[in-house]
Amino acid sequence: MIKTLCYILGLLNRKQLVITVFFLHLGLLKSQGTFDSLKLKLPKHYFNTVISVDGYKNAKNDLVDTNKLLTKRLKNYTINQFNLSFYTPLHTHEDTNSKVHSNTHYLLTGNFMLLQPVFGGMPKHDIIRAGAGLRIIHNTGKKGIWFFDASPFMIKDVSYGSNGTIRMASSAIYSHNFSKTFNMRVGLVKTFLFGNRNYLPYFGFRVGALDRLHFSFQFPRSMSLVWPVGNTFNLSLYSRSQGGVYTFSNKNQVYYLNNDATFYFARREVNTGLRVDFKPTSRLLVYVAGGFSTRNTVSFYSDNRNRANRLGTYKVFFYKNELPTTVFANVGVTIKLGKSKSVYNNLNLMDAIDLNNQNAPGDDNSFNGNINLPAKASKNYNLKSIEDLIDINDF
């Protein structure tokens, strides 16, 4: 304004005025963007990259129905399972211009599993399952979270070089946050968790805040009573379904009615037990669980035979055995990498993180812990832990 006045008064010519206004404007812009000019790296996503390793084993169980010829041959059964999975954010879209703060998260997921079904009367089989998937999580910015997951995977019995099978599991879930202490979820899942391809409704609810004692029921995945003890331990009583459909080599002539190179091995069980999560640092979580494996069922069926049986149902097993209750052990390590944007008191994003973790990558139903939820408030602080909060002038 002063410059304009000078120009009007004839103290500056037009060219001088243009240059002066340009530099004045540049200075104004600079003063608004000192933060940007420092080019500091801010986290782009609300989700961290998380890598998990999970090991599972149940105790050897005798196959009880001895009337069946195969039971006599197979004798007993146990399972060893090793899982490596990860998810990583690909892109985060934020809409901060509208009246609500909505955002959409695109995550890449991956899962590798080595499964060893061990039957006493047969050499060990090594089955691998490997897949990569995409999940989209949309936070409406109000009370809802939409969750979509597509996880194609390949299953192969690598012991005898058999052909693999490609399958796809998927989920579409809507989660509604009524309050910090009550949440409901509904949706539809396509899963092989129960030893068959199932399209199941998803229904879940949580009572209690995520960082306090809470009960979570998530059909068909799990049910748990979780007690966070400070920021280091989490105790939980839980029940979780587990299983799948796996390509199985017929090298040992288990399917003796036909000359199929492979058939399908299906299993399911429900694990109920106690789990302890130990979080020594903000980036590492270790868990140990043990309990009882119930509703333990193994079955074999021939895809060729069942497809040929056009008049009958596809679900025909040439062998099925329900085993008695046994015990299991489960251990795992979860690592959080990179930095993420803060989600303190942001109920929707905290729910989005929990929803993502409750639905493990792939068609795997292990729970790798809510490592990326905000820490629980603690008064156990020291000078080092408050250095970013306090300015020297505050003292």
Binding site: S31, Q32, G33, T34, F35, S37, L38, L40, K41, L42, P43, T96, K99, V100, H101, G141, K142, K143, S179, N231, K279, P280, T281, S282, R283, L284, K341, S342, V343, Y344, N345, N346, L347, N348, L349, P374, A375, K376, A377, S378, K379, N380, Y381, N382, L383, K384, S385, I386, E387, D388, L389, I390, D394, F395
Partner: protein, 128 residues
Amino acid sequence: MLSVAASAQKDKDAVEALRMEYVGKRLDLSKAEADKFWPVYNEYNDKIKVLRKNFRQSFKKPVDALSDKEIEELYLLDLQTKQAEAELYKVYRDKLKLIIGAKRMLKLIAAENDFKKEVIKTIQDKSD
């Protein structure tokens, strides 16, 4: 080394959670207000933390061991950090004021100051 850093980060996260809990209780936001307030407030705090961390980490050598050029650079960085903090404060306080109003903005400022006082007092008590 990494483990020590990760452990310190865990403590920082817990204090930050405590601060957010403290501020949240004092503001008494409705669900609709909270949905709008916390993303903006978290974003502001993330930026401030990155600024302060950047400045803190620039002081790796003792001042006497710095070259003249490094001294100039650090002096400038100090000014820029303070200026950026002030600019962010203005921009984000205006945004937050639109969400919760001027009266509760003052409550927010009071809550932040009270929290600092409590933290300082606790640390002083511990050191006595």
